[in-house]
């Protein structure tokens, strides 16, 4: 709805009705409106996936920024090349090598966050009505970026080992060779499910993509935020045709808006044309600052601290869930990243429950927000453990449990009378 608010007063959009039709599919969520309407001060938010930027030392950033201006002022404040500065692309090439992918600096296009990469790829590949394949649920921001180009989104479900490749195969068979413009996947600590794609699924996904001749877009914002378990090689390391999206937002700072796309040269050429139309080139100043920041070794220590802090918060959230959450709830055990996914009995509509949660001083994102149809996943929610402090996390989970408990009492009454709906009666009462 086209409304801007200040206090209780509503101000309508006077240009409503004159916007392009493609914007109709790009919707602000009812959730966001609700938060705006709630305006409560001691709200615990599990909604946004914001990095804990306070842990990045100001003096390190300041040194890099000062150097960018003092030593490279003329370049920092000038237009740059569309593909991004060569020194930064060399750093990116090094970062990619560390995760097992051989990437030349020339294979890289620097973008304004990986988000711009998503927009540019959609712009380059999609006509209205084109089919794309994503995981279901998938990153809300990707759905938003894609939706402006009006594709038909086919979702492939996941389990604890990532995308179900046998379902993918079924979909691909239905769609036929080149039946989709691309497959979009987040293999590591998937947003919002929190699961990581197992190595054999990665290989199978690539085989299928080859067989049906469909490009794969690998989005990997959280790959380096692993708390435990072994590193898994990215899809790009297994297949050089994979388009890889990386970002400095989680390993440095989202405020610099720096991400990158690694793509085969033909796709890269199209991306550059689209990039030029979008913003000519990225910010040279931001790129120089990142070059300075990543030239030493301090960033590794900062990243280790960040990962340790996120791991601790995940542990606090898992412990709080185990302590407070009802037995009927199941949740993922992310080995890294920002999010975990909670599933409740099928009759619970967590979108409908959100106003009540907001009244109780806690927010989350209802699962349905991560599906293009806006309906699937209603009994699920995404909880971000990255931003709230450990104390807030415990309190927030406690409040949330209170809201759920009330609804679940009813569910238990049905269970006690052996009157549960069939699919819920089949549910194992276990924690994932």
């Amino acid at each position: 709805m086209v409304v801007l608010m200040s206090g209780a007063r509503i101000v309508f959009d006077r240009w409503d009705g004159r916007y392009a039709r493609r914007m109709e599919g790009v919707r602000s969520s009812a959730t966001r409106d609700l938060f705006a309407a709630a305006g409560q001060s001691d709200m615990v938010s599990f909604a946004g996936g914001m990095p804990d930027i306070a842990r990045v030392p100001n003096e390190l950033v300041l040194a890099a920024a000062r150097e960018a201006i003092l030593d490279h002022g003329a370049e920092a404040l000038q237009y740059g090349s569309s593909e991004g500065r060569e020194p930064l692309r060399r750093i990116i090439s090094g970062l990619m090598a560390e995760i097992g992918a051989r990437v030349r600096p020339d294979d890289v296009v620097v973008t304004a966050g990986a988000q711009q990469g998503l927009d540019l790829l959609a712009k380059v590949f999609l006509d209205p009505g084109d089919v794309i394949i994503t995981e279901g649920p998938t990153y809300l921001g990707a759905l938003q970026a894609f939706s402006a180009y009006q594709p038909r989104v086919v979702c492939v479900p996941m389990d604890e080992r990532g995308m179900l490749t046998d379902v993918l195969e079924q979909r691909l068979r239905e769609l036929g060779p080149q039946g989709a413009k691309f497959i979009y996947t987040i293999p590591n600590f998937q947003n919002p499910r929190g699961v990581t794609m197992a190595p054999e699924r990665r290989r199978r996904l690539l085989e299928l993509a080859r067989e049906y001749d469909i490009p794969v877009i690998e989005d990997d914002p959280y790959g380096r935020l692993r708390f435990e378990g072994g590193h898994m090689r990215p899809l790009r390391a297994l297949d050089e045709d994979v388009v890889y999206l990386g970002t400095f937002s989680k390993i440095f700072a989202p405020g610099l808006r720096l991400g990158w796309v690694v793509a085969p040269s033909a796709i890269r050429r199209k991306l550059l044309l689209a990039k030029q139309a979008a913003d000519l080139c990225g910010s040279s100043y931001a790129q120089l600052t990142a070059e300075g920041y990543f030239s030493g070794t301090s960033w590794r220590r900062v990243l280790r601290h960040l990962v340790t802090a996120y791991a601790a918060r995940r542990d606090v959230m898992l412990a709080a869930l185990a302590e407070y959450f009802p037995a009927e709830a199941r949740w993922s055990m992310p080995e890294g990243g920002f999010f975990l996914w909670v599933e409740l009995p099928s009759f619970l509509d967590l979108g409908a429950l959100l106003p009540e949660a907001v009244e109780h001083g806690v927010t989350y994102v209802p699962g349905s927000a991560f599906y293009p149809d806006g309906r699937t996943g209603r009994n699920c929610m995404r909880l971000a453990f990255c931003y709230a402090s450990p104390d807030e996390i415990r309190e927030g989970v406690r409040r949330l449990a209170e809201v759920l408990e009330d609804r679940l009492e009813l569910y238990r009454a049905f269970a006690a009378a052996d009157a549960l709906p069939p699919q819920d009666a089949d549910r194992e009462d276990v924690r994932a």
């Binding site: 709805m1 206090g7 007063r9 509503i10 309508f12 099928s346 009759f347 709906p421």
Partner: protein, 316 residues
């Protein structure tokens, strides 16, 4: 100078989006008519804003919880601000479908047989062990299962076999604490809007809804093209007159004023059954009250002005 009117919309209910659409259209209409309009949302700043703005009247374009259940009406009476639509008591009675159906049955107004069950009856008294009796208690399947206190058909399920009953109940309970299990009457879905603006209670022409999916649920109601509308409804003259009189009786019975919309089903043999009374009917592009008014020769702007002026006239 024309009066200052605050239009109340949005809120925290499940029908927030719909209410914002209603409120926006009402705001535009009143602005075009030259009123000073203050569009307001239900936020913690509402009362302070109302006190500083001092509107002459409030137009209630809220739907669902708080806006339609008497909460806002009670608040506005306390603040001494006249408002549109039914008062506290009528809002409270109409909001609870179980209560209003009891009143209707006692006055001989036909309404489908039903059972009302609260969540507490399930949680604390083992009502789930009597699910097998439920369908027979209202005359057999199919039945409608819906929250007793929610607008816009949120949480509504048509249940055709016993296996689906518990799921439907749980779905309805996710929208509210009381659930209505009602005999499903096959037939035409009809909405009769009633105007009552100081010169008597008058039913507008009935509107017939034919959802393409077969069920007039939330999505059929608000997605353009998902429902075909017939204004006036495809009823013969005698039945048309009868549903009009029924609607007027329900409006009066519940003590409504200014406006209400009575939803009914007319069975193939021409027998009307009243389902519920809405005290803050939608004013969106696909809403039924503006459609009915149009059929009676009252344009949208005129309708809004009639309603907005009703509380002002009562002051005089």
């Amino acid at each position: 100078m024309k009066e200052k009117i605050a239009v109340l919309m949005g809120g925290l209910s499940l029908e927030r989006e719909i209410s914002l659409q209603s409120g926006k259209r009402v705001t535009e209409a009143l602005t075009n008519l030259g009123y000073r309009v203050v569009p307001l949302d239900l936020t913690p700043d509402l009362v302070s804003t109302l006190r500083s703005e001092r509107p002459d009247a409030v137009y209630i374009a809220l739907h669902g919880k708080y806006g339609e259940d008497g909460t806002v009406q009670e608040l506005l009476e306390f603040l001494g601000i006249p408002y549109t639509g039914p008062g506290v008591l009528a809002s409270t009675l109409a909001w609870d479908k179980g209560i209003s159906k009891r009143l209707m049955r006692a006055s001989g107004i036909p309404t489908p047989p039903w059972v009302t069950l609260t969540a507490d009856a399930f949680k604390h008294m083992g009502a789930a062990s009597a699910l097998d009796l439920l369908a027979d208690a209202v005359g057999g399947l199919p039945v409608a299962v819906k929250p007793a206190q929610q607008g816009s058909a949120l949480g509504l399920t048509r249940v055709a076999d016993d296996d689906a009953l518990s799921e439907a109940l749980l779905t309805a309970f996710s929208c509210g604490q009381t659930v209505l299990i009602e005999r499903w009457i096959e037939g035409a879905s009809i909405a009769v809007s009633v105007l009552d603006l100081g010169d008597g209670v008058t039913a507008l022409p009935p509107v017939e809804m034919q959802p393409k999916s077969g069920l007039f649920d939330f999505s059929a109601m608000y997605t353009p093209g998902e429902t075909d509308y017939y204004v006036p409804a495809r009823l013969d003259a005698a039945v048309t007159a009868q549903v009009g009189r029924l609607a007027e009786r329900v409006h009066t019975l519940l003590g409504c004023r200014h406006v209400s919309r009575i939803d009914m089903v007319v069975s193939p043999d021409g027998m009307p059954y009243v389902l519920e009374c809405n005290t803050s009917p939608g004013m969106t592009e696909t809403s039924l009250l503006p459609m009915a008014a149009q059929a009676a020769g009252i344009g949208f702007q005129e309708l809004v002005e009639l309603l907005a002026c009703a509380p002002l006239h009562e002051l005089e």
